[in-house]
């Protein structure tokens, strides 16, 4: 069952990611990205990360993608114009990408031959309770720092997007 679910959602994620790169219109890319995020949330559940799966759906699939779609609608972004690409990119882009994947995949397989298999339900450490305990004891300072970061980001977004008042 794990294998079947993993294969289904991994294939969905990869197809959606390909679609993101290949589509010409930003809104199609945005919807594909939502597909990637949803299938990744299921994979997180398979890995026993309940809290992260929910946060993935709410923060990524919800908030961030609403922001993207909102900006696409607001700017009325059409299909992008094809522009001249360098001969090097046209010729070597795809082979270099495949080589990148092959090298990284080889190192992943070679460096970690003794990894355990993943079976759903054997480890459910990622509950909200456990995450909360660790987050508010061991990682309290990073948590506070990141809350300041997000406050600064909100202020920055407001300052950047405001209307100039003379």
């Amino acid at each position: 069952m794990d294998t079947v679910l993993f294969i289904i959602f991994a294939v969905v994620a990869i197809v959606c990611a390909f679609n993101l790169v290949l589509q010409k219109h930003p809104i199609s890319s945005a919807l594909s990205l939502i597909g990637v995020m949803g299938s990744l949330a299921v994979l997180y559940l398979l890995l026993g990360a309940e809290f992260i799966a929910m946060a993935q759906m709410i923060v990524y699939g919800g908030a961030v993608m609403v922001l993207f779609v909102f900006v696409i609608m607001l700017l009325n972004a059409g299909s992008e114009k094809a522009s001249s690409k360098s001969w090097f990119a046209q010729l070597a882009g795809l082979p270099l990408l495949c080589a990148f994947v092959a090298v990284l995949g080889f190192f992943v397989r070679a460096a970690m031959p003794v990894l355990r298999g993943v079976r759903f339900g054997t480890w459910v450490g990622g509950t909200a309770e456990r995450i909360g305990q660790v987050l508010f004891t061991q990682y309290l300072l990073p948590f506070e720092v990141i809350s300041i970061l997000i406050l600064i980001a909100i202020l920055g977004a407001v300052v950047l997007a405001r209307k100039e008042i003379d």
Partner: protein
């Protein structure tokens, strides 16, 4: 009973998604799509964090991927505000038309 999924499959999936994100980042010309490719790369890294967390049976990887999510949300807010400003000033979303800092 099927055998369990090897953890390296998750890592290879993460590699593939990251590579597709890099490809989109380099290949696409619309600012918004380039930005979405960055989000795709962050998601791929999150997947590998959670996989390692499962392997080590520790919850730290989940915390890191939670922080990555927060940073991605902050980045999306600021980045989209920058895109709005660029569009207001120049009326275009093509990255190769925004080249005033090019030598």
């Amino acid at each position: 009973m099927l055998p369990p999924v090897p953890l390296s499959w998750y890592l290879v999936l993460s590699v593939i998604l990251f590579a597709l994100g890099v490809a989109g980042f380099l290949y696409r010309k619309s600012v918004i799509t380039v930005f979405m490719s960055i989000e795709l790369m962050l998601n791929a890294v999150n997947l590998s964090f959670v996989s390692f967390s499962y392997e080590l049976k520790r919850v730290d990887g989940h915390i890191y991927s939670f922080f990555v999510m927060v940073v991605a949300a902050a980045e999306a807010a600021v980045g989209l505000a920058i895109i709005l400003t660029v569009f207001k000033n120049r009326g275009t979303l093509q990255i190769d038309e925004v080249d005033s800092m090019k030598l």
